[in-house]
């Protein structure tokens, strides 16, 4: 029963990882750029939600407004910083995204300070019980909201004309350009969607774990997720996010206590620390060794 409990909690956190990772994959697919600033967007979204709720907005409204604000931020950063770099090498653009991350952190530090902030309660206290498993409203809401946003985004990508142009750009940028798609506008749209996904993900994570500048590190956890899922696969990012969330929860709840028990019996070591934070990167190494293309990725093959 306890392990089921852990899995459910892990799925909730994992669903948030999934929407944050989706944004990275989206941008990578249509511009070949790995967005290091994704964690920054998640953090900024959480701070927006925090500022809006403390300003007196109800939590639902704060989440929606923060989502829209993040869309604006995403579009602006792409237009102002990355669009002028259209002809720059991809590596230079990635460095620019690293710069964006630093700027975001500095701005948040300036306004909100370095300390951990008690994040306002977005969802009521309490929990529901299903078949002996207890889930707090926090976790249920985080899971449902991520699932809804993720579903909405995938539907947009799959069924709308704009999503079709996104897919076309992702498939072959040069061909998309040739048939008359405004590719740089598509990249702006990708950044907008990505920032919105990250912003909501950040808000939800902050509602689970509290808010500080450290939230921007979630951008690092997203990398093992997209590598596991296969860099270019959107469903892959979702599945891998869920897997990672569950792995972390199980590590935290079962593996760490077990290891600590053994260590305490035989050595002087009392604690192994936050082992669940090591899991994503250990997973990253294993995936890169065993299956570099990830779960859903395909091996690049070139016809000679």
């Amino acid at each position: 029963m306890f392990i089921l409990q852990l899995i459910v909690a892990g799925l909730a956190v994992g669903s948030v990882y999934a929407i944050i990772a989706l944004g990275i994959v989206l941008i990578y697919k249509c511009s070949g750029v790995v967005n290091f600033a994704q964690g920054g967007y998640a953090m900024l979204g959480a701070f927006f939600t925090y500022a809006l709720t403390t300003a007196g907005l109800p939590s639902a409204a704060a989440l929606v407004v923060s989502l829209l604000l993040m869309g604006v931020v995403g579009a602006l950063t792409q237009t102002l910083i990355l669009r002028p770099m259209l002809k720059a090498p991809v590596v230079a653009v990635m460095m620019a995204t690293l710069g964006i991350l630093i700027i975001f952190r500095a701005i948040c530090l300036l306004i909100w300070g370095p300390d951990q902030i008690g994040f306002p309660k977005l969802f009521p206290d309490g929990s529901i019980e299903v078949g002996g498993i207890f889930m707090t409203y926090n976790y249920v809401a985080a899971f449902l909201l991520s699932a809804v946003l993720c579903g909405a985004f995938l539907a947009f990508y799959r069924y709308t004309p704009l999503g079709l142009m996104q897919r076309c750009t992702a498939d072959n940028t040069r061909a998309a350009l040739a048939v008359g798609i405004h590719v740089s506008n598509q990249v702006t749209i990708a950044w907008t969607a990505s920032a919105m996904l990250a912003g909501l993900g950040g808000s939800l994570l902050a509602s689970l774990n509290g808010l500080s500048l450290g939230l921007s590190n979630i951008g690092l956890v997203a990398f093992p997720v997209i590598v596991l899922g296969g860099m270019t696969s959107l469903p892959g990012a979702v599945v891998a996010g869920l897997i990672l969330g569950v792995l972390q929860a199980v590590t935290d709840g079962l593996l760490t206590p077990a290891i600590e028990r053994v260590l305490r019996d035989y050595t002087e070591i009392y604690s192994v620390g936050a082992l669940q934070q090591v899991i994503p990167y250990a997973l990253l190494v294993v995936v890169l060794l065993v299956r570099p293309q990830g779960i859903f990725g395909s091996k690049e093959s070139e016809r000679v």
Binding site: L162, R167, C168, A178, G180
Partner: protein
């Protein structure tokens, strides 16, 4: 109408197109022929915005085309197909036709955020895929199709944008003869239906003769003949560039 005057395109010291003039009237199918390296594709690329000419002017319906990007041109009603078909590997045939439709209409409106209906899809398939024998392949990813079919998809994609000027770059090269005549027949039918002007670069003379209303012959980057199909066959200059001195 399309009016090109003195179009010149140089690559370094090589003059690919050197002062080319050409008019295309609405509803006309013009065949653009010439020996290899005559500059036909380069000229078409200049019209469709891939190259910016070093000199000369290209006007379409009294608007300057020079320096326009392909997405602007698509919205102005200039559509084109490619000699080497664009390799959009993962999209399905219907998806690609929908892209062709979208680039014409898309003004970034809110309509684009909502799913297009199944009825619209069926209509597109019936209008552009069925006549090209692609109806059974509407949900097939492009990479699964034969070369000939992919060329047909490229034409369907260009037509779905309902262009007023359609540029076809070697539409039947590498396509089996029977399919080639069917394709050419379809181009003619589309012209009759939509009244668009067509510029067709093609090497297969039998296709050109039975499709085009007028023929322009290029050699060495300039126009050497402009007239009827029969005239092109008997013109001494055309014979010279194709066959050498008599």
């Amino acid at each position: 109408m399309l009016m090109a005057r003195g179009v010149t395109i140089r690559f370094g010291g090589v003059v690919a197109v050197g002062g080319m003039d050409m008019d295309v009237h609405p509803g006309e199918i013009v065949g653009l022929i010439g020996p290899n390296g005559a500059g036909k594709t380069t000229f078409v690329n200049a019209i469709s915005g891939t190259y910016v000419p070093n000199a000369g002017s290209i006007r379409w319906q009294d608007e300057d085309l020079v320096g326009r990007t392909p997405n602007r041109l698509a919205r102005m009603g200039v559509g084109r197909t490619f000699q080497n078909v664009a390799s959009l590997s993962d999209l399905t045939v219907l998806d690609i036709v929908k892209v062709g439709r979208s680039v014409r209409g898309a003004g970034g409106g809110l309509r684009d955020l909502f799913a297009s209906g199944r009825r619209q899809d069926d209509e597109l398939a019936q209008k552009y895929l069925e006549p090209l024998g692609l109806a059974d392949h509407r949900n097939t990813p492009l990479q699964m199709l034969s070369y000939g079919h992919r060329k047909a998809v490229d034409i369907a994609r260009a037509l779905a944008g309902e262009p007023d000027l359609l540029l076809l770059d070697e539409p039947v090269a590498g396509v089996a003869p029977a399919e080639a005549f069917a394709l050419a027949g379809f181009v003619k039918k589309i012209r009759d239906l939509m009244g668009c002007a067509v510029v067709m670069v093609e090497h297969k003379m039998d296709i050109v003769m039975c499709t085009c209303d007028r023929i322009v012959v290029m050699a060495g980057g300039v126009k050497i003949f402009d007239g009827s199909c029969a005239g092109a066959q008997s013109d001494p200059e055309v014979r010279r560039v194709y066959l050498g001195h008599a």
